[in-house]
């Protein structure tokens, strides 16, 4: 029967939100296959994690070993390849996260499991697994069918399957660690915390976010002035940091900061989901982009389709007028 497995993702002693989204997605799939949902938990003395998972799945499978205190894809692959080969779930779900991206593309071919990444929606009907993914800078969705096989592996985008509390009572099963040591070819050494900069953008009510549309480092000063007029600070997208136009602590998004200001003004930002993940909690979002099809407009409250370099001075003037 179509059993569904979902891998619990945790880091530095905390279960990551994606886990509950995976479990929500898993419950939905299990209702389609008539199978049950198992949360697969690899961790070091993970009792506290088990408690928070009990109501979420039909079973929690626990592999308790110091080897799984931190995530190392090599250790996880060693353990999971054995678990999945013996249990043979129909679908295994993991997050399309730094963790899933490092593990799944190698785990899947090692078990000859059809696999695809970053799914926004999934369906199973007549033994056929289909997924919706995004391509071309988020401008098109693709519906794909996976090659038919007994078992599938899929990674799920964050924020697509709302977590809920179904009030289940999971059976807890334990499995001895299938591996005895961390592989020598890949060893986890330590975490390195992000560098703290001069301004904490997460504390500001107004953030002017600037993207690659700013074109040149020399144009940052103009954006700084504009942000000042609004009483806010400047944040940015990843390419702006990559180009060394602004420091890393200004980056908003999944691999940067999560901000929830009252106002976020996005200038020359296309609206990649990794960026949206960091700012969609803003109360009001204004986007200025010359491309009317930019995905940012689907997230913003107000949009202007124009050249940011024409809008910035005009808007700055009006704001200074209103401030008197």
């Amino acid at each position: 029967m179509g059993e569904i497995f979902a891998l619990v993702e945790h880091r530095q002693g905390v279960i990551r939100d994606i886990t509950f989204e995976l479990l929500a997605c898993g419950r939905d799939l299990a209702s389609k296959t008539g199978g049950s949902l198992t949360a697969v938990l690899l961790g070091d003395k993970p009792d506290a994690f088990v408690d928070s998972l009990k109501a979420q799945a039909n079973r929690v499978m626990v592999i308790d070993s110091p080897l799984f205190k931190e995530f190392n894809s090599a250790s996880y692959q060693g353990a999971l390849s054995q678990v999945l080969s013996s249990e043979k779930p129909m679908v295994t779900l993991m997050g399309h996260t730094a963790f899933g991206m490092d593990l799944c593309p190698s785990l899947a071919p090692s078990l000859d499991m059809p696999f695809t990444t970053d799914c926004l929606a999934l369906d199973i009907a007549d033994g056929k697994v289909t997924a919706t993914r995004q391509m071309y800078d988020g401008k098109l969705n693709a519906e794909v069918t996976l090659r038919q096989a007994p078992s599938y592996l899929l990674t799920i985008r964050t924020g697509c399957f709302p977590a809920s509390d179904p009030g289940l009572e999971a059976e807890i099963t334990t499995v001895d660690s299938p591996i005895a040591a961390e592989p020598d070819y890949r060893k986890f050494i330590e975490y390195i915390e992000p560098v703290v900069g001069d301004v904490d953008i997460t504390k500001s009510d107004v953030i002017v976010g600037v993207g690659r549309g700013v074109k040149d480092k020399d144009n940052i000063a103009m954006v700084e002035k504009f942000a000042e007029a609004l009483g806010g600070v400047v944040g940015c997208t990843r390419p702006v940091v990559d180009s060394e136009w602004l420091p890393k602590d200004r980056q908003v998004g999944s691999s940067g900061k999560t901000v929830k200001p009252k106002l976020y003004v996005a200038l020359g930002i296309s609206g990649a989901f990794q960026h949206l993940a960091g700012m969609k909690g803003a109360e009001t979002i204004i986007a200025v982009n010359k491309d009317p099809n930019a995905p940012i407009f689907a997230e913003a409250d107000y949009g202007i389709v124009d050249d940011m370099f024409k809008i910035i001075p005009a808007l700055q003037e009006k704001i200074l007028e209103l401030k008197g």
């Binding site: 880091r11 190392n72 399309h96 730094a98 991206m101 490092d102 799944c104 593309p105 190698s106 071919p109 059809p114 696999f115 990444t117 970053d118 391509m135 071309y136 800078d137 988020g138 098109l140 969705n141 693709a142 794909v144 069918t145 996976l146 090659r147 890949r186 060893k187 986890f188 050494i189 975490y191 915390e193 992000p194 009510d205 107004v206 609004l230 990843r238 390419p239 602590d249 691999s255 900061k257 999560t258 009252k262 106002l263 296309s270 979002i285 010359k290 491309d291 995905p295 407009f297 689907a298 409250d301 107000y302 949009g303 202007i304 124009d306 005009a314 808007l315 009006k318 704001i319 209103l322």
Partner: protein
């Protein structure tokens, strides 16, 4: 050191309109410009930095149609020593896993100490090929790499996790290193280097050298369509002064100034 870098030619879609073609399964390519996948520009830079530090050669490899040669020539101009194209036109349904299988097949006669990839190709957005290739070759990997230092067959690698957190790994080489953007600042090619690269031969490998029967794709695309619009910004229209007038009022009404 034998250094490999995997490079994909992709349409530049961040600022362009992307239309579905009449098959419903592919995009219209005519009005789009194509260039090296951005993440691969970082992989190439890292490969060339490795060559400069450790000596050896850089081989750029691409699974692509004939025009992928233009992109491989850019790689040659930026410091790759040789280039190999695997003829995509010889194979159907090339998804990420099949790309990895083709790269593996093409690497059969090429030695490697390290293989650089990007962490994602911006067209298909699989984030899969480099890590899958490592598995097929039976060597370790790391993706989302923001720093790597190699010494005596091992590498100290920093991987980027969410929220700007990094992890430090100690890895054995050879390995596949799939780099995150920003790992370095890619160089420009000089005019002389571009001219020289134009004359270099690019090796091509096709289905006559790679048996297609054991190649297997994981997915087929059934259809492409614009993402459904669930929410849309209220678009303010007018000249810059008019829209600014409207916007500043909205900002004021919300008590933000």
């Amino acid at each position: 050191m034998n250094i490999i870098v995997c490079i994909k030619r992709v349409p530049q879609t961040a600022e362009a309109e992307v239309k579905v073609d009449s098959s419903g399964k592919d995009i219209e390519r005519e009005r789009l410009t194509f260039d090296m996948n951005e993440y691969d520009t970082f992989a190439l830079e890292e490969a060339v930095l490795f060559k400069e530090k450790f000596g050896g050669t850089v081989t750029a490899m691409s699974v692509g149609r004939e025009d992928a040669q233009d992109t491989l020539r850019i790689a040659l101009a930026k410091g790759a020593d040789s280039a190999v194209r695997i003829k995509a036109e010889d194979f159907d349904e090339i998804d990420a896993i099949k790309t990895a299988q083709l790269l593996k097949a093409a690497l059969k006669d090429i030695g490697y100490d390290i293989i650089f990839c990007g962490s994602i190709a911006t067209d298909d957005a699989y984030s899969q090929v480099g890590v899958a290739l490592a598995q097929l070759l039976g060597i370790p990997h790391a993706t989302l790499v923001t720093q790597i230092e190699a010494d005596q067959g091992r590498a100290q690698v920093h991987r980027e996790l969410e929220g700007g957190l990094l992890e430090h790994l100690d890895m054995a080489l050879p390995a596949v290193i799939a780099v995150q953007s920003g790992i370095s600042v890619p160089r420009y090619a000089s005019l002389i280097a571009i001219r020289k690269a134009a004359k270099k031969e690019i090796k091509t490998i096709g289905s006559d050298e790679i048996a297609a029967d054991d190649l297997r794709a994981d997915i087929v695309i059934d259809k492409l369509f614009p993402p459904p619009v669930t929410k849309m910004a209220e678009i303010l229209t007018g000249d810059p002064s008019e829209v600014s007038e409207k916007l500043s009022k909205i900002i004021k009404d919300k008590g933000l100034i």
